[in-house]
C-alpha cells in the first residue's frame, strides 16, 4: 500500500455506524459531570459527535428527566440512548422503546448488566435483547465482552456494531485483555468495533485505536477528571494519534535493535 497516494487524513476519515458517517472517533457518556455546563464544554472540547445518555433512572414515573434530556438535545450532537442499569432483557427492551420515543432515534446502546460489582454484561441476556430489538427495527450497539462467540451471536442477532469492554465500567484499568481485543479485531475486520468502558487515561484509548479499533466510548475518565474539559481534549488527541498511527502502517516489533543510522566504520556491520 502506498500511503502517499492514499493520503489518508484524519479529517476525511469517517467511521460509519448503521450507515451514519461521523468524523470523530470519540463517543462520550454524559453521566457524573460536575454540572451540565461542564459536560457541554467537555463535549465541545472533545469534538465528539455522538453522546450516550442513560434513561432508566432519570425517567422517573412520568418521564421527569425532560429538562436534562432537552439540554442534551440542545448540544446538537447525535444521541445514543443507553440502557445503563438494566439487568433483565425485558427492562432493557422497555428502556430502549422509551428511548426511541424520547429521542426519535433507532440507535440504542444495549447494556444488560449481569453482575453488580464489575457491571459485567450478561451476555446471554444481551444476545436475546439484541435479537428482539433488531427485529423491531432498532440499530443496536451492544456493550459486550471480548468473547468471540458472543460477538458472532450478536452479529447473528442483527448487530452491525460491536462494543467490547476494555475493562469493567468506571474501573479505569485500560485494556485488560489486549490479546482478546486483537483477536476480535482480526475476526471481524469489516464490523465497526468500539472499545467501550474501562478506559482510564488517553494512552489506553490510543492503544485501542492502534489495534485498529474504529472508535472509543468513555465517560468516567473524562467526567471524574479534575478538569473534565481538558481531559476531553486530551482523549480526542490520543484517539486521533492512534488512528493516524494505524493509517500510517506502524513498523513491526523486532527482537533485536535495528539502528536507524547505519553503523558505518565498524568492524561488524551486521550479519
Amino acid at each position: 500500500m502506498d500511503a502517499m497516494t492514499n493520503n489518508p487524513g484524519t479529517l476525511a476519515d469517517p467511521v460509519e455506524f448503521y450507515g451514519t458517517k461521523v468524523n470523530s472517533r470519540l463517543l462520550l457518556g454524559t453521566a457524573q459531570y460536575p454540572s451540565p455546563a461542564i459536560l457541554s464544554e467537555a463535549i465541545r472540547a472533545s469534538g465528539a459527535e455522538i453522546v450516550t445518555v442513560s434513561l432508566r433512572r432519570e425517567s422517573g414515573a412520568a418521564k421527569a428527566g425532560q429538562s436534562f434530556w432537552q439540554l442534551i438535545r440542545d448540544l446538537g450532537v447525535k444521541v445514543l440512548p443507553n440502557t445503563a442499569g438494566c439487568k433483565t432483557v425485558k427492562e432493557a427492551v422497555t428502556t430502549a422503546e422509551m428511548a426511541r420515543e424520547l429521542f426519535g432515534t433507532p440507535w440504542v446502546k444495549l447494556e444488560v448488566i449481569g453482575e453488580d460489582d464489575t457491571l459485567q454484561p450478561d451476555v446471554f441476556g444481551l444476545v436475546e435483547a439484541a435479537r428482539i430489538l433488531s427485529r423491531d427495527g432498532f440499530e443496536v450497539f451492544p456493550y459486550t465482552t471480548e468473547d468471540l462467540v458472543v460477538a458472532e451471536k450478536l452479529i447473528g442477532a442483527g448487530c452491525e456494531v460491536l462494543m467490547p469492554w476494555g475493562a469493567p465500567i468506571g474501573s479505569g484499568r485500560g485494556l485488560n485483555n489486549p490479546y482478546g481485543l486483537r483477536s476480535l479485531r482480526a475476526h471481524f475486520p469489516g464490523v465497526p468495533l468500539v472499545v467501550d468502558a474501562g478506559v482510564g487515561v488517553p494512552s489506553h484509548a490510543a492503544a485501542a485505536m492502534e489495534m485498529g479499533y474504529d472508535a472509543v466510548l468513555l465517560n468516567t475518565a473524562v467526567a471524574k477528571a479534575g478538569d473534565p474539559v481538558r481531559m476531553a481534549r486530551a482523549f480526542a488527541r490520543a484517539i486521533e494519534a492512534g488512528r493516524e498511527a494505524v493509517l500510517a502502517d506502524p513498523m513491526e516489533v523486532r527482537d533485536m535493535a535495528a539502528p536507524s543510522t547505519p553503523v558505518m566504520g565498524r568492524a561488524v556491520l551486521g550479519q
Binding site: 454540572s35 457541554s40 432519570e58 421527569a64 436534562f68 468506571g170
Partner: protein, 356 residues
C-alpha cells in the same frame, strides 16, 4: 427612641417611615436568610409562603452539612467561598451548630476514591484506624484510612429554620403570610412594595427558564446502638452517601442526585443504595428503625452554581442546587447589598453560565 450603636436599635430606627418595603416570596432557606439580611439592613420585610410553615420545601430534606472543604471536591471554588461565610453565619444566627468537623471514609476496596477526594481539596488531615476511632469510637476497627476536616460543622435544617423563623418574627418584626402565593393582586398591595425578592426555588422556573430540577432522596434512621458526633461521608464510585447525626439517636442519610424533576417519589433502588452504604459504615444501621423517607427537587442552573438576578424591582435568588444551607446566607447578604448599596457581585451575578 435613643440612637445607640447597637445594631438592633439602628435597625429599628431605620425601619421607620422611609424603610425599604421588601416582599420575600418563598420561606425556604433562601427566603429566610434573605429576610434576615434585609431586616438587618433596616428593611420592612414581609415573607409570603405558599405552604403552611417555613422551610417545608426542599430545605426540609436537606442534609445540613456545612462542609465547604468537602464540597470543594466536586464544586467550583465559589461554593467553598460562600460556604465559609455561611458557616460563620449559622453558628451565630441559630443554636446547636456543633463544629465537630466532618469525616470522609471509604471501604477498603474504594480507597482510590479517598485519594481522589483528597487531591481535590484542602483543609483535612489523614487519619488511620486509631485516629478514626479516637473521633468516633463506634467506628473502631472498621476503617483503615480516612480524611478529617476539623473546621466543618453541621446543623439540623428543620430546627435551624424554625429558630431562624422565630428570630425573624420576634427580633426583626418580619411578617409572614402563609398559604399565599405572593402574586395575588391585593388592593394596593403592590404599591406598598419597593422590592420583591423571589426565593421560590424551582417554582420560579416560570421566570428563570434555565432552571432545572435535580431530584434528591433521603431517609432518617433511628438507632440507639451507635452514635456519631459528626457528619460522615462514605465514598463510592457510583453511590456516595452521607450520614448526619441529628441527635437523640436520629441520623439523616442522603442523598441521591438524579437528573429529573419529579417530587416526592422515592425509588426502591435509591433506598437500597442509601441503606447499603449506611450498613457498610456500621452494621448497627441494619437494625435501625426507618423513621422517614423523603424526596424533593433541588433548583439548579446549568453550571450548578447559585445566582442573583436583578430584573426591575425584583431580585431572584435561586439555583442553590445541593448547597442551600451552605450558600444561602452568603447569597442573602449579597442580595441585600445589591438592593441597598447598588453592589454588583460578578461571582454570583454574571449571567454567563457557560451556556449550552
Amino acid at each position: 427612641m435613643m440612637t445607640s450603636p447597637h445594631t438592633e436599635s439602628t435597625e429599628c430606627a431605620a425601619r421607620g417611615a422611609n424603610a425599604m418595603r421588601v416582599k420575600i416570596v418563598g420561606a425556604g432557606v433562601a427566603g429566610l436568610t434573605c429576610a434576615h439580611a434585609f431586616a438587618k439592613r433596616g428593611a420592612q420585610v414581609t415573607i409570603v409562603e405558599r405552604k403552611a410553615g417555613t422551610g417545608q420545601g426542599c430545605s426540609w430534606f436537606a442534609g445540613g452539612m456545612l462542609a465547604p472543604w468537602c464540597e470543594r471536591e466536586s464544586a467550583e471554588p465559589i461554593i467553598a467561598e460562600l460556604g465559609f461565610e455561611s458557616l460563620d453565619y449559622w453558628r451565630e444566627a441559630v443554636p446547636d451548630v456543633p463544629r465537630e468537623g466532618s469525616l470522609v471514609l471509604a471501604p477498603a476496596r474504594d480507597l482510590p476514591e479517598l485519594k481522589r477526594f483528597s487531591r481535590r481539596t484542602e483543609g483535612y488531615e489523614w487519619l488511620d484506624g486509631a485516629g478514626i476511632a479516637a473521633l468516633e469510637p463506634d467506628l473502631d476497627g472498621r476503617f483503615e484510612q480516612g480524611l478529617f476536616f476539623p473546621t466543618e460543622a453541621h446543623l439540623e435544617p428543620r430546627k435551624a429554620l424554625a429558630a431562624l423563623t422565630a428570630k425573624l418574627v420576634d427580633e426583626h418584626q418580619v411578617k409572614i403570610r402563609y398559604e399565599a402565593d405572593g402574586f395575588e393582586s391585593e388592593q394596593g398591595a403592590e404599591d406598598e412594595i419597593d422590592l420583591t425578592v423571589d426565593c421560590r426555588g424551582l417554582a420560579a422556573r416560570d421566570q428563570l427558564a434555565d432552571l432545572r430540577g435535580v431530584k434528591g432522596e433521603m431517609l432518617v434512621l433511628y438507632s440507639t446502638e451507635i452514635s456519631l458526633k459528626r457528619a460522615v461521608r462514605m465514598l463510592h464510585p457510583r453511590i456516595p452517601v452521607y450520614i448526619v447525626p441529628r441527635g437523640d439517636g436520629h441520623f439523616m442519610i442522603g442523598a441521591t442526585s438524579i437528573e429529573n424533576d419529579e417530587r416526592g417519589r422515592v425509588t426502591g433502588r435509591s433506598m437500597l443504595e442509601l441503606l447499603s452504604a449506611t450498613y457498610a459504615l456500621h452494621p448497627a444501621f441494619g437494625e435501625a428503625e426507618i423513621v422517614e423517607i423523603g424526596a424533593d427537587v433541588r433548583p439548579a442552573f446549568p453550571d450548578n452554581l447559585p445566582r442573583l438576578r436583578k430584573r426591575g424591582n425584583t431580585i431572584y435568588v435561586n439555583g442553590l442546587y445541593r448547597h442551600g444551607f451552605l450558600a444561602a446566607p452568603a447569597l442573602a447578604r449579597r442580595a441585600a447589598e445589591v438592593a441597598f448599596d447598588g453592589a454588583y457581585f460578578p461571582e454570583v451575578m454574571d449571567e454567563d453560565h457557560r451556556q449550552w
